[in-house]
Every structure is written in C-alpha cells, then in structure tokens.
Amino acid sequence: MNAREIYDPDNRWRLRHPAEKAVFAGGMLLLSVAAPSGVVLGVVLATVTATTLLLAAVSWRKFAGGMAAPFGFLLVGAIPVLVASGVNPDTQEAEWRLDVAAAGHLVLRGLTATACLVSFATTTSLPEFLGLLRAIRCPEVLTEWMLLTYRFSQSLLLTVASAHLAQQLRLGLGSPRARVRAAGLLGANLLPRSFEKAKRLERGLECRGYDGQLRTLSPRRRVSWPVLGLVVAVQILLAAWAVAAGRGNL
C-alpha cells in the first residue's frame, strides 16, 4: 500500500467477492468501449461514478486522483484527432480544420472507460484480483510472478519514499541538476537492492517450507448471486439501449 496506489482500503465493497466487482467494472468497460452513442456513454459514466462514490463509498479524493492523471494524457492524445486535415469539396484543396465532434467523443469514451477502471481499482485490492486469477486457473507461473512483483514493489516503494525524504533533507532536491543526480543515484541502486530483498525473502520462505511453489488460501468469501444478477441485468438493458441508439446513427 502506498500513496500512489488508488485502492481505497476503507471502501464499502472491500469484503464483496472480487468476481462481483470484476463483472460490474468489466461489463461497464465493455459497454463504454463498444457504445457508439455519446448519450449512452454519458449514462455509463454517471452510473459508474455514482455507484462507486455512493454505494461503494470510495473516497472522492481517491476516485478523483485516479481520474486526474489519465485525463491529461487523454487531452494530449486527442490533439491529433482534433486537428484533422480534410479536403474542401468546393476547391478540392486540402485544408486544416478542427474536428471537435470526433475529438470530443474520443475524450468522453476515454473518460468513461477510465472511470470503469478506476472503479475497479479503488474497490479491489491486487491480492483480491490475484485470488480471482487463481480461481479461473491462470497459469501458476504468472500468478506467482505477480504476487512476488506486488510484494517487492510494495517494499521498494517504501524504500523510495524514505530515500527520497533522506535526499530532500540533505538538500538533494534543490536545483534541477541536484534532482537529476538524486534520481539517478536512487534509480541505479534500487535494482541491486531489489535483488538483495529477493534473496532474503527466498531464504525466509525456505524456513517456512517453501519448495518451489507459493501456495496460499484466500479468506472465504461468497458470491452474492442476487447482486451479480442485478448488475448483469442493468448492463443488458444498457447494451440494448446502446444497440438501439447505434442503429439510429447508422
């Protein structure tokens, strides 16, 4: 757990089965990518945002934090679409114009899809997600690799935070040049440190009977079928609406 991770440990869905959260966010994500109409996108965006903030009680700070960074990238990425060159039908000459509709739609779609992702990320911890992957029989190589990656990245992020603080205290972040030097030192020495931690963990787990496999049992949680049914029903309705709206556009 670190400052940048957007998972909200106090969300009201933390004890829900991850499958419910995955179906909710995943279904909405598919809808937002596939829906051709801006109105449907708007409805999906509103539904996901409201559900996450009101029902799951995710702190709006976490939610907004999750939305903020991608938003900037979304805008920058839309510039090439916004600035379209076209052929003037009267003069038959190429000219520049602003394709606000296309760019706007792209930004809205990106925003809606990002809201779905943020909804899942704020309500579901990575270990829960890994439990889900194990349940659907994802290859062990991959789940174990992810588990260890998560484990190591948690401790590396703590290390980075302390080292960063120590550098700050020793005037390391004063000038741009000092900043680059400080980041270079930290970045370069983090990998050997990470390897060191890896070796120590392997030995520590050996003491606990590690023989090449990282078996664990997740805490018991039950899927609530009524909730799952409701989620799927809403999504089917939205999909039907999207199909109807899409036909109107064609």
């Binding site: 990002t114 970045g187 890896a198």
Partner: protein, 207 residues
C-alpha cells in the same frame, strides 16, 4: 508511453489483444519451463519486474518537466533476454492499470505489443548487434535501452495512427501528427532511460 483506457475502437482492442496474447502465452510457457530447472530465478525476475513497476510509479524529472516514466524493458532484455520481458511487461502494464489507473485493460494488448514485445525485441536485437560490432558494453547497453524506448514510442504512434487515420492524409499524416505530439517528451526520455540503464549496470557490477 501508453495508450489510455477506452482509446482504441473495439476491433483494434481485440486485434492487439489476440496478437499480444498469443506471444505472451508462448513466453509464459517458455519461461515457465526454464524456471522449473532454475527455480531461484523466479524471485529475481519478480524483483526486476517490481523494479520496473516502481520506476514507472515514480515521478522522475525529465527535461520537459512532465510526469514521465522509463520502461526498464531494455535493461531487462539485456539481463534476462526478451521472453521474460514480455511477461514482465505484461505484469507491469497490468499493475499500472489496476493500481494507478494508468494505461488500461482494453488497451493492454496494444500497449504490451509496443512496450513488452517491440521494445524488448528491439532492445535485445540492438544489444546483440552492438556486441557483434564489438561496441563497448556500456555503449551497447545505452543503445539497447534508448532504442528500445524509442521503438515503443514509434509503435504506439503507429497504433494510434492506424486507429485514427487522418480524414485526408490517412495513416501517414496521422502517424506524423502522433509522432510529433509525443516527441517532446519521449525523445529526451529515451536518452534518459539509456543513461539510467548504464548507471544501473554499473551498480549491478558492484553487486
């Protein structure tokens, strides 16, 4: 550099998903087999994936002052070969999406292709070429990391141009536009990543 969630049309998302998924499946199988004979590598590989993710979660200073992140794929490709880097790239991209809402799930296939697959191939290829050309180790590492990074950026621009061709100029015009928009951050970043990779290699030699 990633394509954000929701940016790609369905057909593109599915297409890149299948392409990258196939290569990823092969790599998981292949790395899994070699891990069976060298189980201790599991921890080291995960430690380097964690390093890649950590770097990407950091705000490193770049010349333009924007928030940016090196990929670490070049470094890993030199250390471990390209196959583990495809898996590693997948994990890092997935973590970025699920932990930081950076990148995305529907764009995961496209992003993996650009970063994990193209990036690792180019990095590994450049490294091998540079070593055959008897370039010094540090130069080879620098080139591998920097060009691997550039490859990621070029492929991403191409993916976006393909998805959003210019109404008049088509793919080529759009490709140029996307290359242009991202060049400001990505070119200096590639150089920075090359330099950082050399520093890391120095630190590793001491280790």
């Amino acid at each position: 550099m990633h394509i954000m969630e929701g940016y790609l049309p369905v057909t593109h998302a599915v297409g890149w998903g299948i392409a990258s998924g196939t290569i990823l499946t092969y790599c998981v199988w292949s790395v899994g087999r070699s891990l069976r004979s060298r189980p201790q590598d599991k921890f080291l590989l995960a430690a380097s994936s964690a390093y890649m993710f950590t770097l990407s979660a950091l705000k490193l200073p770049s010349l333009t002052g924007s928030c940016s992140h090196p990929t670490g794929v070049g470094l890993g490709a030199v250390l471990f070969g390209w196959r583990p880097m495809v898996v590693s790239g997948f994990i890092v991209l997935l973590f970025q999406a699920l932990l930081l809402a950076h990148g995305g799930l529907t764009t995961l296939g496209a992003n993996l292709f650009a970063m994990g697959i193209a990036g690792a191939w180019v990095a590994r290829g450049v490294y091998s070429l540079a070593r055959t050309a008897r370039l010094p180790f540090r130069v080879a590492t620098f080139l591998a990391a920097a060009l691997g990074d550039l490859a990621t950026y070029v492929v991403t621009a191409a993916q976006l141009a393909w998805a959003f061709p210019d109404p008049a100029g088509g793919f080529v015009a759009s490709f140029t536009k996307f290359l242009g928009v991202f060049a400001i951050t990505q070119v200096p970043l590639a150089v920075a990543e090359g330099l950082l990779t050399v520093l890391v290699m120095n630190a590793l030699m001491a280790y």
